[in-house]
């Protein structure tokens, strides 16, 4: 049954995040609600799980906490396939099909940027232990350079059962959405249980859209927001195909500063209790608020915005490039653990082949002391074939910063391999940090065992799976001179010709004594060349005679007289 939800969270002072979540649960090949275009692609390419995210902007974990779905800047696609042979070919076909479906350049996710993560991307849906322990059927790839725009929002909206004309999706005004700091589209397909007995699996499709706004830029310093100000529209209808049509607003901070009030008044307020975190969620049943006029949800603040410190999330990370010059460099990733307990973390990096990572330079340090990781999976790159793949499992100590560093050397590419703006640089995709948190502070994702958001409101679990993406990196490579191919070929061949000419002369010709005054100019040489063809029988004995003494090792005391005599017959050649 499909459900639509919309969550607003004030993620930090001055920023508001809206997440738009649609979950559709359907039986296999039952296209009543499940989009047929996507379903066809999934069945043709034997896809068991698919996770695609298209993001513009960077989610600031230390300021905004954790989003419901964490996504790196650019496009990220990871897929678990049904067991079959020739997964590489299926993957290549799948990315081509998806690039057509989502209007994104996913076809660039070829072997140069695709990896098979061993520990970081386990199946999110139903999967057997044996199947998920093997990384043969998973493929992960990112396109950090990809730009997301309205072209990508339209096919995403097309997948919705009610389309973009009615229901919550009608709020999605592309002009306003792409004005924000951060927006992320997500499509997640996985297998789930249909009922508690779980005899047959169902396919669940979850579409998410997360947008981060800055409301204070509009109104006189106050953080007031409303549907009208954010989307330039109000909610006028609801999708009849949806089972649950709700709007959730996080009102945990409503009573503390800054105070705000919601209009219209919410239907009721829920308490979400998760280990270490309590939240108050105001719930709106859309149907109750549509008549007489459309729903324009408003939040009005009493005071102007004042900035203060926000609390840090339990685990967050930062990554940056070090070094100078275009020959070598280094990458440092700092992972912060603000909890008072240790936690184990899986750190995955995919580095393109042209940044030659030196495995011997990989160091994990905590407070100056070196940490030995529990496990390392390092697959070196093959030029123009695979990227570097690095997965590290190690411990983060409580209340500390762990620093991962490695150095690389920049390769020299062929002139055709540079993108149009060669000096802009090359992007390195985000690192992925996966961990299991014991506390749910600032954690907003739904737990993996449930499909709908409200099922995770009464979550009694004590471990919360967290996946973080760090910043992407921009690295410059040394460029050749693109205007010079002809010149370079000519000059290099000239040098080879100097050698060839000299060696050819020295090996095919002999020293002879000749009279410089008898040597003719060019025109006379040409004339005598044509004459020589008529007189060749006469000249032959002459030239033979004078060559013999200079070549053979006989006594040739008279040879210099012979040479000077024969110079006449010899000089034209």
């Amino acid at each position: 049954m499909p459900g639509r939800r919309w969550i607003t969270t004030i993620i930090s002072l001055g920023h508001a995040a809206q997440t738009f979540l649609i979950t559709i649960n359907s039986k296999v090949q039952h296209y009543h609600l499940f989009p047929k275009s996507l379903g066809d692609v999934l069945t043709t390419y034997k896809v068991k799980e698919l996770h695609l995210s298209q993001t513009q902007g960077l989610w600031k974990h230390e300021k905004w906490g954790y989003p419901p779905e964490d996504a790196p800047p650019g496009d990220e696609l990871w897929v678990w396939f049904q067991p079959h042979s020739g997964v590489d070919q299926t993957w290549a076909d799948l990315v081509n099909a998806l690039s057509g479906l989502f209007c994104a350049s996913l076809n660039f996710m070829d072997s140069k940027s695709t990896v098979q993560p061993r520990w970081s991307f386990r199946p999110a849906g139903l999967a057997s232990e044996f199947y998920s322990a093997n990384s043969r059927f998973v493929r992960y790839s990112t396109l950090p350079r990809e730009v997301v725009c309205t072209e990508n929002l339209t096919p995403w909206k097309k997948l919705l059962p009610c389309g973009s004309k009615i229901g919550l999706a009608s709020l999605l005004n592309s002009v306003k959405i792409y004005d924000g700091f951060y927006h992320s589209l997500g499509v997640h397909v996985r297998s789930v249980c249909q009922d508690t007995q779980c005899l047959t699996p169902a396919t669940e499709l979850k579409q998410t859209l997360t947008v981060v706004y800055d409301p204070t830029t509009n109104k006189n310093g106050k953080q007031d927001w409303s549907f009208q100000s954010m989307f330039d529209r109000t909610l006028q209808s609801q999708c009849p195909l949806a089972d649950t049509r709700k709007i959730y607003v996080d009102v945990t901070t409503q009573e503390t500063l800054p105070k705000f009030s919601l209009s219209p008044v919410p239907d009721f307020v829920l308490n979400q209790k998760r280990s270490g975190e309590e939240r108050k969620i105001a719930v709106y049943q859309i149907g109750n608020h549509l008549s007489p006029s459309s729903l324009n949800l408003k939040a009005m603040y009493e005071e102007k915005l004042t900035f203060s410190n926000s609390s840090l999330p339990p685990v967050y990370a930062n990554r940056f490039v070090t070094g100078y010059g275009l020959e070598r460099g280094g990458v440092t990733c700092m992972i912060y653990n603000t909890m008072s307990s240790n936690t184990t973390v899986i750190f995955m990096e995919t580095v393109p082949w042209f940044l030659r990572v030196y495995f011997s330079s990989l160091r994990i340090e905590n407070d100056g002391k070196e940490i030995k990781p529990y496990k390392i999976n390092f697959i070196p790159a093959k030029d123009r074939a695979n990227p570097y793949q690095m997965e590290l499992v190690f411990r983060l100590f409580a209340n500390s910063v762990t620093k991962i560093t490695y150095s690389f050397e920049r390769a020299f590419l062929k002139w055709t391999e540079y993108p149009p703006d060669a000096n802009h640089g090359f992007y390195v995709s985000s690192a992925v940090v996966s961990t299991v948190l014991p506390v749910a502070s600032q954690y907003t994702a739904t737990s993996q065992s449930v499909s709908l958001l409200e099922e995770s409101f009464s979550d009694s679990s004590s471990s919360f799976f967290l996946r973080l993406h760090t910043e992407t990196l921009l690295v410059s490579l040394p460029t050749p001179d693109f205007s010079m191919p002809y010149n370079v070929i000519c000059l290099a061949c000239t040098v080879v010709a100097i050698a060839f000419g000299s060696l050819h002369n020295l090996t095919t010709r002999d020293f002879t004594a000749s009279d410089p005054s008898k040597r003719k100019g060019l025109v006379a040489k040409l004339k005598s060349f044509f004459k020589k063809e008529k007189e060749s029988p006469e000249n032959k004995p002459d030239s033979k005679e004078e060559e013999i003494p200079s070549q053979k090792d006989k006594d040739n005391s008279k040879s210099e007289e012979k040479d000077s005599k024969k110079k006449d017959g010899n000089s034209e050649t």
């Binding site: 275009l326 011997s360 062929k414 055709t416 040098v495 050698a499 095919t508």
Partner: protein, 439 residues
């Protein structure tokens, strides 16, 4: 001449030891003129780190040494950095000692050859003949050329693995001069195993073997001669095959072949160096890449045939000329090859007076050696130059090497001409005739 030789040898060793204490080795090991992707110590260490971790060093594209070198370098790398420096100085000492022996044996070899062929010479050529006194100080000159040669010092300080290649080639030359042609062929095979191009050195060894065992007026194309060539070639290729087989057994598969020989032939890595390949193939149209790779690789070895025919009486000089062609035209040249050329140059000091371009060549070498790191720095670090500056230096350096090689060949052939024809050539009217190259 023993004392000056010993003093210069010891000075060379002390110079290397002293320079190892400075920051020069770390700087030189990053210089692309000195180290190439094939000979870099940093890459060798990376390959060994992967090997120790259980990952095959040939699964990536950083390590390109052959498995035997993997073993030797693994053994060396276990020591502390200071001991590793000492080991490289020791390798240079070994190289110097082999050069001394070569100089010694070369002198004797030259006198013997001269004695057999002096009856073919022109009577006026007596003053051009080699004398024992000249050859006595060959050892000194060779030692000076090796000990104070900046290219050899740079190769040693940068811990380039080209020193192993040079030692094997020098051993091949030494055994050839001593008369052990089969042992020389085995060393040629070992050098080819390490860096592939020295396989063409089996031609001078084969010619030398034939000349040593020639009886009477046997011609080069007689069946007996061909049999002797095939014997040497057979020994070379057999040894190479055995080495490859052992490597396969050590690594466990044939995956090292694309990483080593495939890498040398296919030139996928376009790191700048003082050769002709890198920028040519950076700017090459993709459509023609394979064609030009073939052309350039054939260019390295094609000079063997004409040079062998021309220098069939002088296989030692042929060996030396082939070292030039390898060092200039190979896919990843470095200062190791240049150092080897300069170290052996004093053996032919009797040819110097017939060379024409020595001043130009020496100036070009000096300028290029000084300019190369400057232009590289300006391109990569300062950002105020571009790749063309460094490319120009690489072209000029290659031209300087070519000029030196062809000038030396010219001088050698001219000396041969004067030996056989005397050096007084007069025209009928009494003026001097010009000696030119003509067909």
């Amino acid at each position: 001449m023993v004392l000056p030789t010993a003093i210069s040898f010891v000075c060379g060793v002390i110079l290397r030891l002293a320079l190892f204490r400075s920051s020069l080795p770390d700087w030189l090991s990053t210089k692309t003129e000195v180290v190439t992707p094939l000979t870099s110590w940093g890459r060798a260490m990376e390959g060994l780190a992967l090997h120790r971790e259980g990952i095959s060093p040939y699964s990536g594209d950083i390590f390109h040494e052959s498995p035997l070198m993997l073993k030797i370098l693994g053994f060396i790398s276990r020591f502390s950095p200071n001991t590793i420096n000492l080991i490289f100085v020791l390798l240079d000492i070994i190289q110097g000692m082999i050069l001394l022996r070569i100089a010694n044996t070369f002198g004797r070899h030259m006198l013997l050859r001269q004695a057999t062929s002096v009856k073919n010479y022109h009577p006026d050529a007596k003053k051009n003949l080699l004398r024992k006194e000249d050859l006595m100080d060959l050892q000194f000159y060779v030692t000076v050329a090796f000990s104070f040669n900046p290219y050899s010092i740079a190769t040693c300080l940068a811990r380039s693995t080209a020193v192993f290649n040079n030692i094997i080639i020098l051993l091949a030359l030494y055994q050839m001069l001593k008369g052990n042609s089969f042992l020389s062929a085995v060393f040629v095979a070992l050098a080819a195993y390490i860096s592939m191009y020295p396989i063409i050195l089996c031609v001078p060894v084969a010619v030398h073997y034939f000349l040593m065992s020639r009886k009477g007026g046997m011609h080069y194309t007689d069946p007996t001669a061909v049999v002797s060539y095939l014997q040497i070639l057979g020994v070379t290729f057999m040894s190479l095959a055995i080495m490859l087989l052992f490597s396969m057994l050590f690594v466990g598969s044939w995956e090292f072949i694309p990483s080593t020989y495939g890498f040398i032939l296919g030139v996928p890595d376009l790191t700048p160096n003082l050769g002709l390949f890198w920028y040519f193939f950076t700017e090459m149209f993709e459509h023609f890449r394979t064609f030009f790779i073939c052309v350039f690789q054939i260019n390295v070895v094609i000079y063997t045939i004409p040079l062998a025919i021309r220098l069939r009486e002088h296989p030692t000089f042929l060996f030396y000329m082939l070292l030039y062609t390898i060092g200039i035209f190979k896919s990843y040249p470095g200062y190791g090859d240049v150092g080897l050329m300069f170290a052996l140059l004093p053996l032919w000091k009797h040819v110097y007076q017939y060379m024409r371009n020595t001043f130009v060549t020496v100036c070009m070498f000096l300028v290029c050696t000084v300019f190369a790191p400057i232009q590289y720095y300006l391109w990569i670090y300062a950002g105020s130059a571009n790749a063309n500056f460094y490319f120009a230096i690489s072209l000029a350096f290659s031209t300087a090497q070519i000029l030196m090689a062809t000038d030396l060949l010219f001088g050698f052939l001219k000396r041969e001409f004067y030996l056989h024809n005397g050096d007084k050539h007069k025209l009928p009217d009494g003026t001097d005739a010009q000696i030119i190259l003509d067909s």
